[in-house]
Symmetry: C2
Subunit: 595 residues, 2 copies
């Protein structure tokens, strides 16, 4: 791929570009991108494609919610992000520039031909490398400071009191954990339960680079799937068992054998590469999703993350990676087994009960100590305070009461002394048919912006020095071009009418009546419009138009009244022009250079 | 309306609820709301409805973009938000509590039966009211501090340098202004140009209340429509001229005559209530939009904002208000004529040229002074430095050069002196066919969360103590219920299959095979599912099912194969059950209490 040409193309067509560029040089603007008109449409189509694969077919147990971006400090104390969500930073003691320590070390040593891995090293180990190799500031050659932690949460203050610190969420996930109990109740107290969220997150990178690949603000699509660890089966796995995916399991990563192996989802589970079926379930869907974005399987893989590379909450994790021409393998989604880490922590920090109930196969019998007051004896001692004493008594833990009385012969209840003869002690047997537990979580987490990037990179094709953007038709920002062959009222009027009809039916359209038809076709091909309609002499006579296919350049001629139906079949039912032609008994006009 | 029952219903069905409720009391959690599964679907449907009214029909000149929520400080210096986007705050000197000064004054005086208007008062005037009426802290009766400004921008730091201050945007608008020039180029340098954006914004309210009506974080849908102030006609107005809307114009507001008058868009323009046609255009669309959300016209109005009530950038502004049972009239959108304020300010702060070009009706001839070097004379004085001198000369403003030489006889060019004989001065005439100008802006700005609220309030109906949520079918979170009459495999299997078919065709569905059919219908009515499909004995024989209409309780019986088509017509083409029955020659089963 001609990467320079590709980048030029992205900017020229306005898919996306660095934000605030009129202020570049006057303010910190790194790590933020704007989406232009085509980029916004593409991004939204990718989001809806994700919903159609991860949510709609599983509506019975996966629901989407929306929670705030700004969250109070305690949420991130509980989640561990305040402690763990850090990078290492080092400062030049001369010019004051700040660097991400691991990047600085790797890059400076690479200049000397030395390759080191810094992942998992702590501040002291990083600083040792700096002193060992006598690394200096790449900008001014000044000495470097100690390495320290830098928290990547964007901090703010909520309301007028400066002690009410809040942060921008670095993942949508915490919103689902914090609201888990409520959704669980709403959905009828059923497990498994999936909670999905699509929204903005922010990470205050020390020095963001790599365009859309490392942003300070980006969009995530996440699902927290809550399941019973004693019943980790996924009832939906059987429809996906034959899906093929590629994986580099943990033992291979450890050995440095980074060549992915291809296997079915069934094999993935059987070989024990994943700790539970839910991991496999989402990895299967993620593979299907990437296929649908136009990324071929041989450019996809899952790579196991080693313990030192995993986030603080994860007990198993895979990155779904895609081979990019520009950036090598880049992560587009993370698949983590978060166990009961998050819910347990939020239960602890909030003091709320975040458990759910499991039906026991066999009810168990438990013995419970119960204490009942003996009103006669209590009245004897406390007269008309008796009812007050009895009320207080009912609030005491029976076990404590009985133990005290057994040991000391009496129990001090506020100002009242309870003696053995004032109560009846009974051991009662009770059948329990449920028990409480904190559900475990598997999380697939997608970065939308990287998906936009890889989708475009994979669609970008050059044919005879002309650009053809081979986006899957249902993802294309603009679905239909309307091209009157001649710029005369008879033609353009029909064109405008067709545009109105198609817009109302929900198609994004592009109307163009200017220039040669060849150059207009090229314009459409460049921005990936899958179908172009031409209005020609014949249209004026019999109300038929031609539909041209972007990739094969084939055309069919159809009646205007059938356009909506046929375009729906072409774009959303993925029928080809050939299939349509056959079913409607139409002639295919093959592409020739003269046309 | 039974408001208590309505609120209970919202929470019980999980449309939305206050965020972080497990941490209430342990952190500042006011002003943030979660959307549950039904609320998220409804909100997204409202957003897409807006797109279908404001963007899709006008794709040729209105495009949607997406820009970041975090923006650098200079953006809000330029926009004026750092200076003007403030509320007045007052602090209790005893307990330290902080209050919004205007709210405190109005509420405390209302307790004494005194009504005052505080809008437009400055800090001194507010403080005068506090001293005049000897107002104290409502919580502890302590003395109150001076009144001061409190900026409502959420502040943060971008990256590791503490001087790089950023803010969360309080409106999506600034992203469109900052990127205006680029979009203008992308869209072929055409005016009028509309740039739309849908996204989160944040305003750090001093003490948010009123649920979804006053949030610290919420979603906006905005369009910045850039037009030529010398040609402020809206070419699209004629299709909307007959739209009826209700308005309280500025002169009536001044007189306190707050009864809206009803008129057509044509009359609105002719009577001069709006300063340009673009204001009328968006007010017409906004009225249509609210109609589509189920808000009747007699609950809608536009109210003019008086100069002291308008935002700092606005020269004319209307609030679109909706009568809420609970909150009285509430603003759901703002319509502002922002003139060239924002682009001019960003041009000034960025140093960039943010003008566009207007074709002149008649080209004008202008005279330009040009200066050409005289190489012979320059070489005589400067020898082999001559070419350097000539290059420097080409960079000088010719007007300055000529003036200096006229006055002083020579011009100092760095170290070189330029004398009159070293240059040729020519006056050249040039025809200009374009001129530069900064476009003006009309902005419709919607708050999505308030729209969700008013949509629900208007849909909420109680009939015989039962809830019926009469949402317009295309807005309903769940479109179709699938209800096997009997919980037996023959029935449930068909039900599950129908659910699969409908889900794949993009319908949100609700499957329920538990309980009496009557109670299941009630459940569907409560959450506004417009159509319910029942699988009964007849289904097993002839593959037909019944479709029940939520509002009329009428039913028709149709073949399973026709479901997708018929549901599309019912929901998206807004055909009634009756119309479908007539066109397909089906019998209508009228509702009776026994069924």
């Amino acid at each position: 791929m001609n990467y320079e040409r590709f980048l030029e193309f992205i900017i020229e067509k306005g898919f996306f570009w660095p934000s605030f560029d009129i202020y570049r040089g006057r303010a910190e603007t790194g790590g933020f991108y704007d989406y232009g008109p085509l980029g916004t449409l593409l991004k939204n189509n990718i989001i809806n494609k994700w919903r159609s694969i991860f949510i709609y077919p599983y509506q019975d147990f996966i629901v989407e919610i929306e929670t705030p971006i700004v969250m109070p400090r305690i949420v991130f104390e509980a989640s561990g992000h305040l402690e763990h969500f850090t990078d290492y930073i080092v400062e030049c003691l001369k010019c004051g520039r700040k660097y991400r320590a691991d990047h600085l070390i790797e890059e400076e040593l690479e200049k000397r031909g030395i390759r080191v891995r810094t992942e998992g090293l702590n501040e002291n180990e990083l600083y040792e490398l700096i002193t060992k190799y006598e690394l200096k500031c790449p900008h001014c050659s000044g000495d470097l400071s100690n390495v320290r932690k830098f928290n990547l949460l964007f901090q703010t203050i909520i309301g007028p009191y400066s002690e009410n610190i809040g942060y921008l969420r670095p993942e949508t996930a915490q919103g689902m954990f914090v609201s888990f109990s409520r959704i669980y109740e709403l959905q009828g107290r059923k497990i498994p339960l999936g909670i999905a969220q699509i929204g903005k997150v922010a990470r205050n990178e020390i020095s963001p680079r790599q365009g859309l690949v490392r942003l300070r603000e980006f969009t995530q699509m996440e699902i927290e799937l809550f399941f019973d660890p004693k019943n980790p089966k996924c009832p939906y796995i059987k429809d996906l068992e034959q899906v093929k995916l590629r994986i580099i399991p943990e033992d291979k990563v450890k050995k440095g054998a980074l060549e992915p192996i291809e296997l079915t989802v069934r094999e993935l589970i059987e070989k024990g590469y994943v700790v539970n079926e839910w991991m496999a379930f989402f990895m299967a869907l993620a593979t299907i999703f990437l296929n649908e974005l136009g990324v071929p399987l041989d450019k996809q893989a899952f790579i196991a993350k080693l313990p030192e590379e995993r986030a603080h909450y994860a007990t198993q994790a895979f990155d779904q990676i895609v081979k990019s021409e520009r950036f090598g393998w880049i992560e587009v989604s993370g698949h983590a087994y978060r166990s009961d880490y998050d819910l347990s922590r939020h239960a602890q920090y909030s003091g709320q009960d975040l458990t759910v109930e499991r039906k026991l196969e066999k009810p168990v019998e438990i013995e419970e100590v119960r204490v009942y007051p003996n009103p006669t004896k209590i009245k004897e001692s406390y007269g008309n305070e008796a009812s007050k004493v009895m009320k207080l008594l009912s609030q005491v833990n029976p076990k404590d009461l009985v133990r005290e009385i057994e040991i000391r012969g009496e129990y001090l209840l506020g100002n009242y002394t309870i003696r053995r003869d004032m109560i009846f002690i009974k051991i009662e047997k009770r059948k329990l048919s449920t028990e409480k537990y904190i559900p475990h979580v598997v999380e697939p987490s997608f970065g939308v912006d990287r998906l936009v990037y890889v989708t475009l990179e994979n669609a970008f094709t050059m044919i005879n020095d002309k650009i053809l953007l081979k986006l899957p038709p249902d993802l294309a920002p603009i679905k239909v071009a309307i091209l009157p062959i001649v710029k005369k009222y008879e033609y353009t009027d029909i064109g405008k009418k067709i545009q109105k009809i198609l817009s109302r039916s929900g198609f994004t359209t592009f109307y163009d009546d200017d220039g040669s038809i060849g150059s207009r076709y090229s314009k459409c091909d460049e921005i990936g419009i899958p179908y172009a309609i031409t209005i020609d002499e014949k249209t004026l006579i019999d109300d038929t138009v031609t539909i041209r296919d972007r990739d094969t350049k084939r055309q069919i001629r159809v009646h205007i009244d059938h356009l909506v139906q046929i375009l729906n079949e072409l774009i959303y039912e993925k029928k080809g022009l050939k299939q349509i032609a056959e079913s409607m008994n139409l002639q295919i006009i093959e592409y020739s250079h003269s046309s």
